[in-house]
Protein backbone atom coordinates (compact mmCIF):
# COMPACT_ATOMS: atom_id res chain seq x y z
CA UNK A 1 0.00 0.00 0.00
CA UNK A 2 1.22 3.47 -0.75
CA UNK A 3 1.97 5.59 2.35
CA UNK A 4 -0.70 8.11 1.37
CA UNK A 5 -3.35 5.41 1.24
CA UNK A 6 -2.26 4.12 4.64
CA UNK A 7 -2.47 7.60 6.19
CA UNK A 8 -5.83 8.24 4.52
CA UNK A 9 -7.20 4.96 5.89
CA UNK A 10 -5.85 5.85 9.35
CA UNK A 11 -7.71 9.18 9.31
CA UNK A 12 -10.91 7.48 8.13
CA UNK A 13 -10.80 4.86 10.85
CA UNK A 14 -9.88 7.36 13.58
CA UNK A 15 -12.59 9.79 12.55
CA UNK A 16 -15.23 7.14 13.15
CA UNK A 17 -14.66 6.97 16.87
CA UNK A 18 -14.38 10.64 17.63
CA UNK A 19 -14.89 10.57 21.39
CA UNK A 20 -12.43 7.75 21.96
CA UNK A 21 -9.91 9.26 19.57
CA UNK A 22 -10.28 12.63 21.28
CA UNK A 23 -9.82 11.24 24.76
CA UNK A 24 -6.74 9.24 23.86
CA UNK A 25 -5.26 12.21 22.03
CA UNK A 26 -5.83 14.35 25.12
CA UNK A 27 -3.07 12.52 26.98
CA UNK A 28 -0.59 13.32 24.21
CA UNK A 29 -1.83 16.91 24.00
CA UNK A 30 -1.16 17.36 27.71
CA UNK A 31 2.19 15.60 27.48
CA UNK A 32 3.45 17.59 24.50
CA UNK A 33 1.99 20.81 25.91
CA UNK A 34 3.91 20.35 29.14
CA UNK A 35 7.11 19.51 27.27
CA UNK A 36 6.77 22.63 25.12
CA UNK A 37 5.80 24.85 28.07
CA UNK A 38 8.74 23.54 30.11
CA UNK A 39 11.16 24.01 27.25
CA UNK A 40 9.85 27.54 26.68
CA UNK A 41 10.16 28.45 30.36
CA UNK A 42 13.55 26.75 30.61
CA UNK A 43 14.87 28.48 27.51
CA UNK A 44 13.57 31.78 28.84
CA UNK A 45 15.39 31.23 32.13
CA UNK A 46 18.57 30.19 30.35
CA UNK A 47 18.54 33.25 28.14
CA UNK A 48 17.89 35.48 31.13
CA UNK A 49 20.91 34.05 32.92
CA UNK A 50 22.96 34.51 29.78
CA UNK A 51 21.81 38.10 29.48
CA UNK A 52 22.70 38.59 33.12
CA UNK A 53 26.19 37.22 32.62
CA UNK A 54 26.43 39.48 29.62
CA UNK A 55 25.29 42.55 31.54
CA UNK A 56 27.45 41.78 34.56
CA UNK A 57 30.39 41.40 32.26
CA UNK A 58 32.87 38.59 32.44
CA UNK A 59 36.11 40.58 32.39
CA UNK A 60 36.25 41.94 35.92
CA UNK A 61 37.37 40.77 39.34
CA UNK A 62 36.40 41.48 42.91
CA UNK A 63 39.20 41.77 45.45
CA UNK A 64 38.21 41.34 49.08
CA UNK A 65 40.15 41.87 52.24
CA UNK A 66 40.53 38.52 54.00
CA UNK A 67 42.80 39.44 56.91
CA UNK A 68 41.07 37.26 59.48
CA UNK A 69 42.59 34.23 57.81
CA UNK A 70 46.00 35.17 59.05
CA UNK A 71 45.02 33.78 62.43
CA UNK A 72 47.60 34.15 65.16
CA UNK A 73 50.45 35.28 62.96
CA UNK A 74 51.68 38.66 64.12
CA UNK A 75 51.42 41.41 61.63
CA UNK A 76 54.60 43.27 60.86
CA UNK A 77 54.78 46.84 62.02
CA UNK A 78 53.63 49.45 59.60
CA UNK A 79 51.75 47.09 57.28
CA UNK A 80 48.20 48.06 56.42
CA UNK A 81 45.75 45.53 57.80
CA UNK A 82 43.24 46.23 55.02
CA UNK A 83 42.94 47.23 51.43
CA UNK A 84 43.37 50.90 50.83
CA UNK A 85 42.75 53.42 48.12
CA UNK A 86 46.47 53.23 47.32
CA UNK A 87 46.18 49.47 46.63
CA UNK A 88 43.54 50.18 44.03
CA UNK A 89 45.60 52.95 42.51
CA UNK A 90 48.64 50.65 42.38
CA UNK A 91 46.66 47.87 40.70
CA UNK A 92 45.29 50.33 38.19
CA UNK A 93 48.68 51.75 37.30
CA UNK A 94 51.14 48.86 37.81
CA UNK A 95 49.35 45.75 36.47
CA UNK A 96 49.63 45.71 32.66
CA UNK A 97 46.73 43.27 32.31
CA UNK A 98 44.40 45.56 34.28
CA UNK A 99 42.44 48.28 32.52
CA UNK A 100 40.99 50.03 35.54
CA UNK A 101 40.61 49.49 39.26
CA UNK A 102 38.57 51.12 41.96
CA UNK A 103 38.29 50.90 45.72
CA UNK A 104 34.79 50.37 47.04
CA UNK A 105 32.99 50.65 50.31
CA UNK A 106 29.38 49.66 50.85
CA UNK A 107 27.11 50.40 53.78
CA UNK A 108 23.44 49.98 54.51
CA UNK A 109 21.97 53.23 55.71
CA UNK A 110 18.74 55.11 55.98
CA UNK A 111 18.40 57.52 53.05
CA UNK A 112 15.92 60.37 53.18
CA UNK A 113 14.31 62.08 50.23
CA UNK A 114 11.78 64.88 50.33
CA UNK A 115 9.11 62.19 49.91
CA UNK A 116 10.19 59.09 51.83
CA UNK A 117 12.80 57.23 53.83
CA UNK A 118 14.44 54.15 52.44
CA UNK A 119 16.97 51.68 53.84
CA UNK A 120 19.40 50.92 51.05
CA UNK A 121 22.98 50.20 50.04
CA UNK A 122 25.18 53.22 49.57
CA UNK A 123 28.49 52.69 47.85
CA UNK A 124 31.52 54.87 47.23
CA UNK A 125 33.54 54.16 44.08
CA UNK A 126 35.82 55.82 41.55
CA UNK A 127 34.04 56.89 38.36
CA UNK A 128 36.03 54.04 36.76
CA UNK A 129 33.57 51.70 38.43
CA UNK A 130 31.02 52.48 35.70
CA UNK A 131 33.48 51.35 33.07
CA UNK A 132 34.46 48.23 35.04
CA UNK A 133 30.85 47.18 35.59
CA UNK A 134 29.70 48.53 32.23
CA UNK A 135 27.07 50.63 33.84
CA UNK A 136 25.37 53.49 32.04
CA UNK A 137 22.70 56.02 32.91
CA UNK A 138 19.26 56.18 31.38
CA UNK A 139 18.71 59.72 32.67
CA UNK A 140 21.18 62.42 33.67
CA UNK A 141 24.92 61.73 33.79
CA UNK A 142 27.51 59.63 35.55
CA UNK A 143 29.69 61.38 38.12
CA UNK A 144 33.24 62.09 36.98
CA UNK A 145 36.80 62.46 38.28
CA UNK A 146 36.07 66.16 38.30
CA UNK A 147 33.17 65.69 40.70
CA UNK A 148 35.38 63.56 42.92
CA UNK A 149 38.30 65.99 43.02
CA UNK A 150 36.02 68.96 43.62
CA UNK A 151 34.25 66.92 46.33
CA UNK A 152 30.85 67.69 44.82
CA UNK A 153 27.98 66.21 46.76
CA UNK A 154 26.48 64.23 43.91
CA UNK A 155 25.29 60.66 43.43
CA UNK A 156 23.95 58.22 40.83
CA UNK A 157 20.90 56.19 41.79
CA UNK A 158 19.73 52.69 40.84
CA UNK A 159 16.23 52.14 39.44
CA UNK A 160 14.81 50.39 42.50
CA UNK A 161 16.14 52.94 44.97
CA UNK A 162 14.83 55.75 42.79
CA UNK A 163 11.40 54.18 42.72
CA UNK A 164 11.40 53.77 46.50
CA UNK A 165 12.60 57.30 47.22
CA UNK A 166 10.85 59.34 44.56
CA UNK A 167 7.94 57.21 43.40
CA UNK A 168 7.14 58.37 39.90
CA UNK A 169 8.90 61.73 40.25
CA UNK A 170 11.77 62.45 37.85
CA UNK A 171 14.82 61.82 40.07
CA UNK A 172 17.46 63.97 38.34
CA UNK A 173 17.98 67.22 40.28
CA UNK A 174 16.24 65.83 43.36
CA UNK A 175 18.16 65.73 46.62
CA UNK A 176 18.67 63.00 49.17
CA UNK A 177 20.09 63.14 52.67
CA UNK A 178 22.51 60.65 54.17
CA UNK A 179 23.94 61.35 57.65
CA UNK A 180 22.16 64.71 57.43
CA UNK A 181 24.27 65.68 54.46
CA UNK A 182 22.47 66.61 51.29
CA UNK A 183 23.45 65.13 47.93
CA UNK A 184 22.10 65.89 44.49
CA UNK A 185 21.01 63.04 42.22
CA UNK A 186 22.74 63.57 38.88
CA UNK A 187 22.21 60.20 37.19
CA UNK A 188 19.60 57.44 37.01
CA UNK A 189 21.35 54.13 36.27
CA UNK A 190 20.12 51.57 33.78
CA UNK A 191 18.63 48.43 35.29
CA UNK A 192 20.88 45.45 36.12
CA UNK A 193 18.12 43.09 37.24
CA UNK A 194 18.32 40.71 40.16
CA UNK A 195 21.07 38.28 41.03
CA UNK A 196 20.63 34.54 41.38
CA UNK A 197 20.37 34.91 45.17
CA UNK A 198 17.49 37.34 44.78
CA UNK A 199 19.69 40.35 45.36
CA UNK A 200 18.43 43.49 43.69
CA UNK A 201 21.34 45.07 41.82
CA UNK A 202 19.26 48.19 41.25
CA UNK A 203 18.70 48.98 44.93
CA UNK A 204 21.89 51.01 45.31
CA UNK A 205 23.13 54.60 45.38
CA UNK A 206 26.66 55.33 44.14
CA UNK A 207 28.82 58.21 45.38
CA UNK A 208 32.23 59.50 44.29
CA UNK A 209 34.79 57.62 46.42
CA UNK A 210 36.39 60.53 48.26
CA UNK A 211 33.11 62.27 48.93
CA UNK A 212 31.72 59.04 50.31
CA UNK A 213 34.77 58.34 52.49
CA UNK A 214 34.71 61.77 54.00
CA UNK A 215 31.03 62.47 54.42
CA UNK A 216 29.38 59.05 54.71
CA UNK A 217 31.86 56.36 55.84
CA UNK A 218 34.32 58.55 57.76
CA UNK A 219 37.37 56.33 57.06
CA UNK A 220 39.82 55.32 54.35
CA UNK A 221 39.09 51.61 54.40
CA UNK A 222 38.29 49.92 51.14
CA UNK A 223 36.37 46.72 51.94
CA UNK A 224 36.43 45.65 48.39
CA UNK A 225 38.10 46.58 45.14
CA UNK A 226 37.05 46.03 41.59
CA UNK A 227 39.39 45.66 38.66
CA UNK A 228 38.75 45.07 34.97
CA UNK A 229 41.10 43.19 32.67
CA UNK A 230 42.68 45.15 29.86
CA UNK A 231 41.01 44.53 26.50
CA UNK A 232 42.06 41.14 25.20
CA UNK A 233 43.94 40.22 28.38
CA UNK A 234 42.83 36.96 30.01
CA UNK A 235 41.24 37.33 33.42
CA UNK A 236 43.61 34.73 34.88
CA UNK A 237 46.67 36.85 33.98
CA UNK A 238 45.06 39.95 35.53
CA UNK A 239 44.30 37.91 38.63
CA UNK A 240 47.90 36.70 38.96
CA UNK A 241 49.33 40.18 38.49
CA UNK A 242 46.97 41.61 41.12
CA UNK A 243 47.89 38.83 43.53
CA UNK A 244 51.62 39.34 43.11
CA UNK A 245 51.31 43.10 43.50
CA UNK A 246 49.13 42.92 46.61
CA UNK A 247 51.39 40.30 48.27
CA UNK A 248 54.32 42.60 47.67
CA UNK A 249 52.47 45.67 48.90
CA UNK A 250 51.21 43.85 51.98
CA UNK A 251 54.78 42.55 52.57
CA UNK A 252 53.69 38.97 52.89
CA UNK A 253 56.45 36.41 53.35
CA UNK A 254 56.48 33.12 51.45
CA UNK A 255 54.99 31.24 54.39
CA UNK A 256 52.11 33.63 54.82
CA UNK A 257 48.79 33.15 53.09
CA UNK A 258 47.16 35.88 51.05
CA UNK A 259 45.29 38.34 53.26
CA UNK A 260 42.88 38.99 50.41
CA UNK A 261 40.79 37.05 47.91
CA UNK A 262 40.46 37.70 44.22
CA UNK A 263 37.00 36.55 43.17
CA UNK A 264 36.03 35.95 39.60
CA UNK A 265 32.45 37.13 39.11
CA UNK A 266 31.94 34.74 36.24
CA UNK A 267 32.23 31.83 38.70
CA UNK A 268 29.05 32.98 40.41
CA UNK A 269 27.36 33.49 37.07
CA UNK A 270 28.42 30.03 35.97
CA UNK A 271 26.96 28.57 39.14
CA UNK A 272 23.73 30.36 38.42
CA UNK A 273 23.72 28.99 34.87
CA UNK A 274 24.38 25.51 36.25
CA UNK A 275 21.42 25.81 38.62
CA UNK A 276 19.22 26.87 35.75
CA UNK A 277 20.34 23.87 33.70
CA UNK A 278 19.58 21.46 36.51
CA UNK A 279 16.19 23.05 37.01
CA UNK A 280 15.47 22.75 33.29
CA UNK A 281 16.33 19.06 33.29
CA UNK A 282 14.04 18.50 36.24
CA UNK A 283 11.17 20.25 34.47
CA UNK A 284 11.83 18.29 31.28
CA UNK A 285 11.84 15.01 33.17
CA UNK A 286 8.45 15.76 34.69
CA UNK A 287 7.09 16.79 31.30
CA UNK A 288 8.42 13.59 29.72
CA UNK A 289 6.73 11.50 32.38
CA UNK A 290 3.40 13.04 31.46
CA UNK A 291 4.22 12.31 27.83
CA UNK A 292 4.87 8.66 28.68
CA UNK A 293 1.52 8.51 30.47
CA UNK A 294 -0.05 9.88 27.29
CA UNK A 295 1.81 7.25 25.29
CA UNK A 296 0.43 4.46 27.46
CA UNK A 297 -3.04 5.84 26.69
CA UNK A 298 -2.28 5.56 22.98
CA UNK A 299 -1.05 2.00 23.45
CA UNK A 300 -4.23 1.12 25.29
CA UNK A 301 -6.56 2.57 22.68
CA UNK A 302 -4.60 0.92 19.86
CA UNK A 303 -4.83 -2.45 21.61
CA UNK A 304 -8.59 -1.99 21.97
CA UNK A 305 -8.80 -1.00 18.32
CA UNK A 306 -6.86 -4.10 17.24
CA UNK A 307 -9.13 -6.36 19.30
CA UNK A 308 -12.27 -4.70 18.00
CA UNK A 309 -11.16 -5.01 14.43
CA UNK A 310 -9.84 -8.55 14.53
CA UNK A 311 -12.32 -9.63 11.84
CA UNK A 312 -11.29 -6.71 9.68
CA UNK A 313 -7.67 -7.79 10.06
CA UNK A 314 -8.66 -11.33 9.05
CA UNK A 315 -10.52 -10.01 6.01
CA UNK A 316 -7.60 -7.86 4.96
CA UNK A 317 -5.26 -10.82 5.30
CA UNK A 318 -7.65 -13.00 3.27
CA UNK A 319 -7.57 -10.52 0.38
CA UNK A 320 -3.78 -10.29 0.45
CA UNK A 321 -2.50 -8.09 3.27
CA UNK A 322 0.68 -9.44 4.81
CA UNK A 323 2.02 -8.80 8.32
CA UNK A 324 3.91 -5.71 7.23
CA UNK A 325 0.74 -4.14 5.80
CA UNK A 326 -1.17 -4.74 9.03
CA UNK A 327 1.73 -3.52 11.16
CA UNK A 328 1.97 -0.39 9.05
CA UNK A 329 -1.76 0.22 9.28
CA UNK A 330 -1.94 0.21 13.08
CA UNK A 331 1.41 1.90 13.58
CA UNK A 332 0.24 4.68 11.27
CA UNK A 333 -2.95 5.06 13.27
CA UNK A 334 -0.95 5.42 16.48
CA UNK A 335 1.44 7.91 14.89
CA UNK A 336 -1.36 9.94 13.31
CA UNK A 337 -3.09 10.00 16.69
CA UNK A 338 0.10 11.23 18.35
CA UNK A 339 0.95 13.71 15.60
CA UNK A 340 -2.49 15.32 15.93
CA UNK A 341 -1.94 15.39 19.68
CA UNK A 342 1.51 16.87 19.09
CA UNK A 343 0.06 19.66 16.98
CA UNK A 344 -2.56 20.63 19.55
CA UNK A 345 -0.04 20.03 22.31
CA UNK A 346 2.32 22.52 20.72
CA UNK A 347 -0.41 25.14 20.54
CA UNK A 348 -1.42 24.34 24.12
CA UNK A 349 2.19 24.57 25.29
CA UNK A 350 2.64 27.96 23.64
CA UNK A 351 -0.57 29.12 25.30
CA UNK A 352 0.56 27.90 28.73
CA UNK A 353 3.97 29.52 28.27
CA UNK A 354 2.35 32.83 27.35
CA UNK A 355 0.08 32.54 30.36
CA UNK A 356 3.09 31.90 32.62
CA UNK A 357 4.97 34.87 31.23
CA UNK A 358 1.88 37.05 31.54
CA UNK A 359 0.72 36.01 35.02
CA UNK A 360 4.05 35.26 36.71
CA UNK A 361 6.21 37.60 34.70
CA UNK A 362 8.69 34.81 33.88
CA UNK A 363 10.78 35.00 30.79
CA UNK A 364 9.67 32.45 28.21
CA UNK A 365 11.11 31.79 24.81
CA UNK A 366 9.20 30.20 21.95
CA UNK A 367 10.87 29.40 18.69
CA UNK A 368 10.09 27.38 15.59
CA UNK A 369 12.39 24.51 16.50
CA UNK A 370 9.99 23.77 19.36
CA UNK A 371 7.28 22.94 16.81
CA UNK A 372 9.70 20.47 15.23
CA UNK A 373 10.44 19.14 18.70
CA UNK A 374 6.71 18.59 19.27
CA UNK A 375 6.34 16.72 15.99
CA UNK A 376 9.46 14.65 16.66
CA UNK A 377 8.47 13.77 20.22
CA UNK A 378 4.91 12.86 19.32
CA UNK A 379 6.03 10.72 16.38
CA UNK A 380 8.53 8.89 18.56
CA UNK A 381 5.83 8.33 21.20
CA UNK A 382 3.45 7.03 18.52
CA UNK A 383 6.05 4.63 17.13
CA UNK A 384 7.11 3.44 20.57
CA UNK A 385 3.69 2.86 22.07
CA UNK A 386 1.96 1.85 18.85
CA UNK A 387 4.48 -0.80 18.02
CA UNK A 388 3.39 -3.52 20.40
CA UNK A 389 -0.34 -3.45 19.49
CA UNK A 390 0.49 -3.18 15.79
CA UNK A 391 2.94 -6.05 16.03
CA UNK A 392 0.32 -8.19 17.76
CA UNK A 393 -2.14 -7.41 14.98
CA UNK A 394 0.42 -8.35 12.35
CA UNK A 395 1.06 -11.74 13.99
CA UNK A 396 -2.62 -12.75 13.97
CA UNK A 397 -3.52 -15.93 12.16
CA UNK A 398 -5.88 -15.12 9.25
CA UNK A 399 -8.32 -17.93 10.05
CA UNK A 400 -8.48 -17.21 13.77
CA UNK A 401 -8.93 -13.52 13.05
CA UNK A 402 -11.79 -14.27 10.64
CA UNK A 403 -13.45 -16.58 13.16
CA UNK A 404 -13.22 -13.94 15.94
CA UNK A 405 -16.58 -12.75 17.24
Amino acid sequence: MSPLTVIYEAFISLSHNKVRTGLSVLGIVIGIASVIAMVAVGEGARQRVERQIESLGDDWLTIRFWGMQRGGVNRQQGVQPYLAESDADAIGSECPAVRAATPSNTMRVQVVSSFRNHQTSVQGVYPDYFDIRRWRTVEGRLFTDDDMIALRRVCCIGQSSAAELFGGVYPIGQTIRVNRITFEVVGLLETKGTGGEGRDFDDVILFPWRVFQRLVAGNEISQTMYAAAAHGAPLSIAREQIRALLRQRHRLTKEENDDFRVVDRSVAAQASAETTRTFNWLLMTIACISLVVGGVGIMNVTLVSVTERTREIGTRMAIGANGTHILGQFLTEAVVLCAVGGLFGFLGGVLVAQLVSWRLGWDVLISTWMALLAILFSTVVGLTFGFYPAWRASRLDPIEALRYE
Partner: protein, 241 residues
Protein backbone atom coordinates in the same frame (compact mmCIF):
# COMPACT_ATOMS: atom_id res chain seq x y z
CA UNK B 1 -3.00 -32.82 -20.78
CA UNK B 2 -2.06 -29.74 -18.80
CA UNK B 3 -1.36 -30.18 -15.06
CA UNK B 4 -4.24 -29.53 -12.71
CA UNK B 5 -4.68 -26.08 -11.15
CA UNK B 6 -4.99 -27.63 -7.72
CA UNK B 7 -3.47 -30.86 -6.57
CA UNK B 8 -4.03 -32.00 -3.01
CA UNK B 9 -2.29 -35.18 -1.89
CA UNK B 10 -2.99 -36.92 1.41
CA UNK B 11 -3.76 -33.68 3.25
CA UNK B 12 -4.52 -33.76 6.98
CA UNK B 13 -5.61 -30.93 9.23
CA UNK B 14 -5.49 -31.75 12.91
CA UNK B 15 -6.43 -29.22 15.60
CA UNK B 16 -4.53 -29.89 18.81
CA UNK B 17 -5.78 -26.91 20.80
CA UNK B 18 -8.50 -28.98 22.48
CA UNK B 19 -8.26 -31.88 24.94
CA UNK B 20 -8.74 -34.44 22.20
CA UNK B 21 -7.05 -33.64 18.90
CA UNK B 22 -9.66 -32.94 16.20
CA UNK B 23 -8.96 -34.41 12.80
CA UNK B 24 -10.90 -31.90 10.71
CA UNK B 25 -9.52 -33.12 7.38
CA UNK B 26 -8.27 -36.68 7.06
CA UNK B 27 -6.16 -37.79 4.18
CA UNK B 28 -7.89 -35.92 1.39
CA UNK B 29 -6.50 -36.23 -2.10
CA UNK B 30 -7.99 -34.30 -4.96
CA UNK B 31 -7.14 -32.67 -8.26
CA UNK B 32 -9.08 -29.81 -9.80
CA UNK B 33 -8.33 -28.61 -13.32
CA UNK B 34 -8.45 -25.09 -14.55
CA UNK B 35 -11.96 -24.09 -15.63
CA UNK B 36 -13.87 -26.48 -13.42
CA UNK B 37 -16.90 -25.49 -11.35
CA UNK B 38 -16.95 -27.56 -8.18
CA UNK B 39 -19.54 -27.70 -5.44
CA UNK B 40 -18.67 -29.13 -2.04
CA UNK B 41 -21.31 -30.23 0.43
CA UNK B 42 -21.49 -32.33 3.55
CA UNK B 43 -22.82 -32.35 7.07
CA UNK B 44 -21.97 -29.60 9.52
CA UNK B 45 -18.52 -30.15 10.99
CA UNK B 46 -17.42 -32.45 8.16
CA UNK B 47 -14.36 -30.29 7.43
CA UNK B 48 -15.51 -28.34 4.36
CA UNK B 49 -14.42 -24.93 5.66
CA UNK B 50 -11.13 -26.28 6.93
CA UNK B 51 -10.43 -27.76 3.51
CA UNK B 52 -11.38 -24.52 1.77
CA UNK B 53 -8.99 -22.56 4.00
CA UNK B 54 -6.15 -24.85 3.00
CA UNK B 55 -7.04 -24.56 -0.69
CA UNK B 56 -7.35 -20.78 -0.31
CA UNK B 57 -3.86 -20.56 1.22
CA UNK B 58 -5.32 -19.07 4.39
CA UNK B 59 -4.09 -22.02 6.40
CA UNK B 60 -1.40 -24.66 6.06
CA UNK B 61 -2.21 -28.38 6.23
CA UNK B 62 -0.83 -30.33 9.18
CA UNK B 63 0.41 -33.02 6.83
CA UNK B 64 0.40 -33.73 3.13
CA UNK B 65 1.18 -31.80 0.00
CA UNK B 66 -0.73 -29.07 -1.83
CA UNK B 67 0.35 -27.63 -5.16
CA UNK B 68 -1.34 -24.62 -6.67
CA UNK B 69 -0.40 -23.71 -10.25
CA UNK B 70 2.52 -26.10 -9.87
CA UNK B 71 3.90 -24.45 -6.70
CA UNK B 72 4.23 -26.36 -3.46
CA UNK B 73 2.22 -24.25 -1.01
CA UNK B 74 3.41 -25.94 2.17
CA UNK B 75 6.87 -24.54 1.59
CA UNK B 76 5.78 -20.88 1.33
CA UNK B 77 6.06 -18.37 4.20
CA UNK B 78 3.33 -16.05 5.43
CA UNK B 79 4.33 -13.25 3.13
CA UNK B 80 4.38 -15.41 0.01
CA UNK B 81 1.00 -16.88 0.94
CA UNK B 82 -0.41 -13.37 1.33
CA UNK B 83 0.89 -12.40 -2.11
CA UNK B 84 -0.65 -15.54 -3.61
CA UNK B 85 -4.03 -14.87 -2.00
CA UNK B 86 -3.85 -11.34 -3.26
CA UNK B 87 -3.04 -12.10 -6.89
CA UNK B 88 -4.32 -15.57 -7.73
CA UNK B 89 -7.15 -16.41 -5.34
CA UNK B 90 -10.45 -14.71 -4.55
CA UNK B 91 -12.26 -15.70 -1.37
CA UNK B 92 -15.96 -15.10 -0.70
CA UNK B 93 -17.35 -15.54 2.82
CA UNK B 94 -20.77 -16.38 4.15
CA UNK B 95 -20.88 -13.14 6.11
CA UNK B 96 -19.57 -10.97 3.21
CA UNK B 97 -16.84 -9.37 5.39
CA UNK B 98 -16.98 -6.01 3.66
CA UNK B 99 -15.33 -3.21 5.61
CA UNK B 100 -17.93 -0.86 7.05
CA UNK B 101 -17.08 2.87 6.89
CA UNK B 102 -15.66 2.20 3.46
CA UNK B 103 -17.52 2.69 0.19
CA UNK B 104 -18.26 -0.28 -2.05
CA UNK B 105 -15.82 1.06 -4.61
CA UNK B 106 -12.98 1.31 -2.06
CA UNK B 107 -13.86 -2.07 -0.58
CA UNK B 108 -13.55 -3.64 -4.00
CA UNK B 109 -10.39 -1.67 -4.76
CA UNK B 110 -8.67 -2.79 -1.54
CA UNK B 111 -6.92 -5.92 -2.92
CA UNK B 112 -5.37 -3.71 -5.62
CA UNK B 113 -4.12 -1.29 -2.95
CA UNK B 114 -2.02 -4.12 -1.55
CA UNK B 115 -0.48 -4.43 -5.02
CA UNK B 116 0.27 -0.69 -4.92
CA UNK B 117 -1.92 0.04 -7.93
CA UNK B 118 -2.40 3.85 -8.02
CA UNK B 119 -5.64 5.15 -6.51
CA UNK B 120 -7.31 6.22 -9.75
CA UNK B 121 -6.46 3.05 -11.62
CA UNK B 122 -7.73 0.82 -8.85
CA UNK B 123 -10.95 2.80 -8.44
CA UNK B 124 -11.53 2.59 -12.17
CA UNK B 125 -11.02 -1.18 -12.12
CA UNK B 126 -13.27 -1.54 -9.06
CA UNK B 127 -16.03 0.44 -10.78
CA UNK B 128 -15.65 -1.76 -13.86
CA UNK B 129 -16.10 -4.98 -11.89
CA UNK B 130 -19.00 -3.56 -9.86
CA UNK B 131 -20.71 -2.52 -13.10
CA UNK B 132 -20.32 -6.01 -14.51
CA UNK B 133 -22.02 -7.38 -11.40
CA UNK B 134 -24.87 -4.87 -11.67
CA UNK B 135 -23.78 -2.56 -8.86
CA UNK B 136 -22.61 0.30 -11.09
CA UNK B 137 -25.05 2.72 -9.47
CA UNK B 138 -23.96 1.86 -5.92
CA UNK B 139 -20.25 2.79 -6.05
CA UNK B 140 -20.39 5.35 -3.25
CA UNK B 141 -22.74 3.37 -1.02
CA UNK B 142 -21.60 1.93 2.26
CA UNK B 143 -22.16 -1.80 2.88
CA UNK B 144 -24.87 -1.23 5.48
CA UNK B 145 -26.91 0.67 2.88
CA UNK B 146 -27.24 -2.45 0.71
CA UNK B 147 -29.27 -5.65 0.75
CA UNK B 148 -27.61 -8.96 1.60
CA UNK B 149 -27.59 -10.07 -2.03
CA UNK B 150 -26.00 -6.79 -3.11
CA UNK B 151 -23.40 -7.06 -0.36
CA UNK B 152 -22.51 -10.56 -1.46
CA UNK B 153 -22.19 -9.43 -5.06
CA UNK B 154 -19.86 -6.64 -3.88
CA UNK B 155 -17.83 -9.22 -1.98
CA UNK B 156 -17.60 -11.29 -5.17
CA UNK B 157 -16.52 -8.18 -7.05
CA UNK B 158 -13.76 -7.72 -4.49
CA UNK B 159 -12.69 -11.33 -5.00
CA UNK B 160 -12.62 -10.85 -8.77
CA UNK B 161 -10.97 -7.45 -8.97
CA UNK B 162 -7.43 -8.86 -9.26
CA UNK B 163 -8.49 -11.33 -12.01
CA UNK B 164 -7.67 -14.43 -9.95
CA UNK B 165 -7.33 -17.93 -11.36
CA UNK B 166 -9.41 -19.40 -8.55
CA UNK B 167 -12.60 -18.22 -6.86
CA UNK B 168 -13.48 -19.84 -3.54
CA UNK B 169 -16.80 -19.33 -1.79
CA UNK B 170 -17.63 -20.82 1.60
CA UNK B 171 -21.41 -20.94 1.89
CA UNK B 172 -21.84 -17.67 0.01
CA UNK B 173 -25.60 -18.05 0.02
CA UNK B 174 -25.97 -19.02 3.66
CA UNK B 175 -27.31 -15.60 4.63
CA UNK B 176 -29.53 -15.12 1.57
CA UNK B 177 -33.05 -16.14 0.63
CA UNK B 178 -33.65 -18.76 -2.06
CA UNK B 179 -34.12 -16.31 -4.90
CA UNK B 180 -30.94 -14.31 -4.11
CA UNK B 181 -29.06 -17.57 -3.57
CA UNK B 182 -30.03 -18.76 -7.05
CA UNK B 183 -28.89 -15.43 -8.51
CA UNK B 184 -25.48 -15.79 -6.86
CA UNK B 185 -25.11 -19.34 -8.16
CA UNK B 186 -26.05 -18.20 -11.69
CA UNK B 187 -23.41 -15.51 -11.38
CA UNK B 188 -20.79 -18.15 -10.55
CA UNK B 189 -21.92 -20.22 -13.51
CA UNK B 190 -21.58 -17.21 -15.78
CA UNK B 191 -18.11 -16.32 -14.45
CA UNK B 192 -17.04 -19.91 -14.89
CA UNK B 193 -18.34 -20.18 -18.46
CA UNK B 194 -17.51 -16.71 -19.74
CA UNK B 195 -14.30 -15.82 -17.92
CA UNK B 196 -13.04 -19.40 -17.47
CA UNK B 197 -12.50 -18.85 -13.76
CA UNK B 198 -12.18 -21.99 -11.67
CA UNK B 199 -14.88 -21.87 -9.00
CA UNK B 200 -15.22 -23.90 -5.81
CA UNK B 201 -18.38 -23.35 -3.79
CA UNK B 202 -19.35 -24.87 -0.47
CA UNK B 203 -23.08 -25.24 -0.07
CA UNK B 204 -25.46 -27.20 2.11
CA UNK B 205 -28.26 -27.28 -0.42
CA UNK B 206 -28.16 -29.98 -3.06
CA UNK B 207 -30.26 -28.01 -5.53
CA UNK B 208 -27.66 -25.24 -5.44
CA UNK B 209 -24.86 -27.80 -5.78
CA UNK B 210 -26.54 -28.84 -9.00
CA UNK B 211 -25.31 -25.65 -10.68
CA UNK B 212 -21.79 -27.06 -10.60
CA UNK B 213 -20.32 -29.55 -12.99
CA UNK B 214 -18.67 -31.54 -10.25
CA UNK B 215 -20.06 -32.37 -6.86
CA UNK B 216 -17.86 -33.43 -3.95
CA UNK B 217 -19.33 -34.60 -0.65
CA UNK B 218 -17.44 -34.50 2.63
CA UNK B 219 -18.17 -36.59 5.66
CA UNK B 220 -16.17 -36.66 8.84
CA UNK B 221 -13.11 -35.10 7.23
CA UNK B 222 -13.04 -37.37 4.18
CA UNK B 223 -14.36 -37.22 0.64
CA UNK B 224 -17.10 -39.82 0.35
CA UNK B 225 -18.34 -38.92 -3.11
CA UNK B 226 -16.89 -37.11 -6.13
CA UNK B 227 -19.15 -37.00 -9.19
CA UNK B 228 -18.64 -35.19 -12.43
CA UNK B 229 -21.77 -34.73 -14.48
CA UNK B 230 -21.29 -35.89 -18.06
CA UNK B 231 -22.62 -32.63 -19.48
CA UNK B 232 -20.40 -30.54 -17.21
CA UNK B 233 -23.33 -29.01 -15.37
CA UNK B 234 -24.45 -27.02 -18.35
CA UNK B 235 -27.81 -28.74 -18.80
CA UNK B 236 -30.65 -26.48 -19.82
CA UNK B 237 -32.81 -27.84 -17.04
CA UNK B 238 -30.71 -26.53 -14.21
CA UNK B 239 -30.25 -23.02 -15.45
CA UNK B 240 -33.92 -22.41 -16.09
CA UNK B 241 -35.21 -23.76 -12.80
Amino acid sequence: MQPPLIEVRDVWKIYRNCEVPVEAVRSVSLAISSGEFVAISGASGSGKSTFMHVVGCLDQPTRGSYTFEGREITRLDRKQLAALRNKRIGFVFQSFNLLGRTTLQDNVALPLAYQRVPLRARRRRAAEVLCELGLGDRLKYFPNQLSGGQQQRAAIARALVTRPALLLADEPTGNLDTERAAQIMSLFTELNEKDKITVIVVTHETDLAAYAGRHIVFSDGRIISDETRPDGGQSEGIRTR
